[in-house]
């Protein structure tokens, strides 16, 4: 569904990505692992066009989208759950969700989408009039994911969704992600530092290190290789 080939980008004159390539297959969970500073977030931002790629090629559904602006990519059905939540904190839960359905096609299906996210996250339904900034950390993360679903995406990219959550909530977030894939057929690109949970959820894994893909493979193989675990994952 999404194919990234030898992508290069960075900030100012500092190059962060040195030509990593990866592929996300339709209807699967692909996980991107790597230590802090590896370039995981930069890669997601580059895919979405928030950072302009310097070189390389991005193909989405057999269409070249390398230099398409962000809003056009969202229109094609790519959605990002940004790191650190980025909610509209002064708006209510409901307003945040409506804002998610900003693009035309999403607006048409807004009622269905609302029903869907409220059934996925019943706690949001209970608090739909509350300001987003007053939710607990876990609820805010749920809302960020829910808002991404409101854009009616075909593919969701999640940037460290379990960051800063209690272990029980982390499990809940991963459960939701797996549900999105299994029940709604969404394609998911998951960026995580939580290695164990990601290896369990994903069907294919890439390990990014210093801006390059160092290892890729099935989760079983990665879990099985002591070298990889020690060198890149620290488990």
């Amino acid at each position: 569904m999404l194919k990234v080939e030898n992508i290069e980008s960075g900030y100012g004159s500092m190059q962060v990505l040195w030509g990593p390539s990866l592929e996300v297959k339709k209807g699967s969970i692909t996980s991107l692992l790597g230590p802090n500073g590896a370039g995981k977030t930069t890669l997601l931002m580059t895919i979405l066009g928030s950072i302009e790629p310097w070189g390389g090629k991005i193909t989405y559904e057999d269409r070249e989208v390398t230099h398409l602006p962000t809003h056009k990519k969202v229109d094609l059905g790519i959605s990002l759950v940004p790191e650190g939540k980025h909610l509209f904190v002064d708006m209510s839960v409901h307003e945040n969700l409506v804002m998610g359905a900003y693009r035309k096609e999403a607006l048409k299906n807004i009622d269905d989408s609302l029903e869907l996210v409220y059934s996925l996250f019943p706690v949001l339904k209970e608090r739909d009039r509350q300001k987003a900034g007053t939710l607990s950390g876990g609820e805010q993360q749920m809302l960020t994911i829910a808002r991404a679903i409101m854009t009616k995406p075909k593919m969701i990219m999640l940037d460290e969704p379990s960051q800063g959550l209690a272990p029980k909530l982390v499990a809940e977030v991963f459960e939701t992600i797996q549900k999105l894939e299994a029940e709604f057929g969404l394609t998911i690109l998951l960026v995580e530092q939580n290695v164990v949970a990601s290896l369990n959820a994903a069907s294919y894994v890439y390990i990014l290190h210093e801006g390059r893909i160092k290892v890729e493979g099935n989760p079983e193989d990665i879990r099985g290789s002591a070298d990889i675990r020690e060198a890149y994952l620290g488990i």
Binding site: L48, S50, P69, T70, H71, V74, D75, S79, L80, P82, H86, L87, F88, V89, D90, M91, M99, G100, Y102, R103, A106, R147, A148, T151
Partner: protein, 333 residues
């Protein structure tokens, strides 16, 4: 259809205030100058608020547009008054030139400065404003630092009587019209897809982008609208009314600050705020200048500080909380 009209209800108090101001000025002798001054502040506040109130970007160089509007009108009259058959047409040409210069500046500034955020954006706008001023002075275009004086040309082509009416009544009256237009556009943007997009930008620009909002497009649209309205005020209230323009008089950041004060007093991002702010600011400035000439700024500064500390959301911000869930709610926005 009914829903469409309901969403414009908050315009009623705004337009009512403008109408009352106009009637007071028109029928009470000696009040016209004061009312015109108030309308000037209301119109500028409202125009500035369209961009700042909705996006949260503070444009410190806003006076650029007012100044370019003034120049547009001045150039139109200076260079076209020799064609007598144009008659009143020179004012239309002046207005078109004002719009053109402001649109050009707004688009250029949007391309450069809107890539920046926060303090960097504010500073870039100031830089562009100062740059333009010294460019006009240094390159000696449009009269350079000696400016353009066209009152004589205006009198010659339109006659003393007409010009008298134009400068003492119609120039001020058009400021009322611009203020009303600014209120309408503000309301229209607030209650449409544009408003949602801009509010999302204000709350969290990165999140807005991820939602698929074309942030550049909407920011530019609001910036352009705000700039054009400011230029129209400049063309009428400074250009046509005064009959002269000097770069050192118009490219002055002080006027931007007055816009900011007006909006903050009344409540940023609200519709009624700039009107209330304009009235408070204009009236107290006028009144303090009479009772304590020379000291008005000294007294005015602490008053503004106190009001902004006590009501950080402005007068209308406080009022909005008060009327929540009452019948007045849908009129106060």
């Amino acid at each position: 259809m009914k829903k469409n009209i309901v969403k414009y209800y908050p315009l009623i108090p705004v337009l009512a205030v403008y109408l009352i101001m106009f009637l007071i000025g028109f029928f009470m002798p000696g009040m016209w100058q004061m009312v015109a001054l108030l309308a000037f502040y209301c119109a500028l506040g409202q125009s500035w608020n369209i961009f700042m109130g909705m996006t949260g970007y503070v444009d410190f160089g806003y006076v650029t547009f007012i100044a370019l509007g003034t120049y547009g009108m001045s150039l139109g009259i200076t260079y076209f008054s020799q064609f007598e058959w144009l008659g009143m047409g020179i004012i239309v040409i002046g207005l078109i030139l004002a719009m053109f210069l402001a649109a050009l500046a707004a688009l250029l500034e949007a391309a450069i400065a809107l890539r920046l955020r926060g303090a960097y954006f504010a500073i870039a706008c100031i830089g562009i404003n100062e740059g333009l001023r010294y460019f006009i002075e240094g390159a000696k275009i449009w009269g350079g630092s000696e400016g353009l004086i066209f009152f004589g040309a205006l009198t010659q082509s339109l006659g003393r009587e007409t010009v008298n009416q134009l400068t003492t009544f119609w120039a001020d009256f058009s400021v009322f019209v611009i203020a009303a237009l600014a209120a309408f556009l503000n309301m229209h943007y607030m209650r449409s897809k544009i408003g949602y997009a801009l509010t999302a930008v204000r709350e969290d620009e990165d999140a807005a982008k991820v939602m698929g909002v074309n942030t550049t497009k909407y920011k530019t649209l609001a910036f352009l609208t705000s700039g054009l309205l400011g230029a129209a005020v400049g063309a009428m209230a400074w250009g046509l009314k005064l009959g002269h323009v000097y770069p050192g008089d118009v490219f002055v950041i002080h006027y931007t600050i007055e816009c900011i004060v007006v909006v903050l007093l009344g409540g940023a991002g609200t519709l009624l705020g700039p009107v209330v702010g304009g009235l408070i600011y204009g009236l107290s400035k006028y009144w303090l200048a009479i009772i304590m000439p020379g000291f008005q700024l000294l007294i005015f500064a602490p008053i503004i500080i106190i009001i902004i500390v006590a009501f950080p959301e402005g007068v209308i911000g406080v009022l909005k909380q008060r009327v929540k869930r009452t019948a007045l709610e849908k009129y106060i926005v």
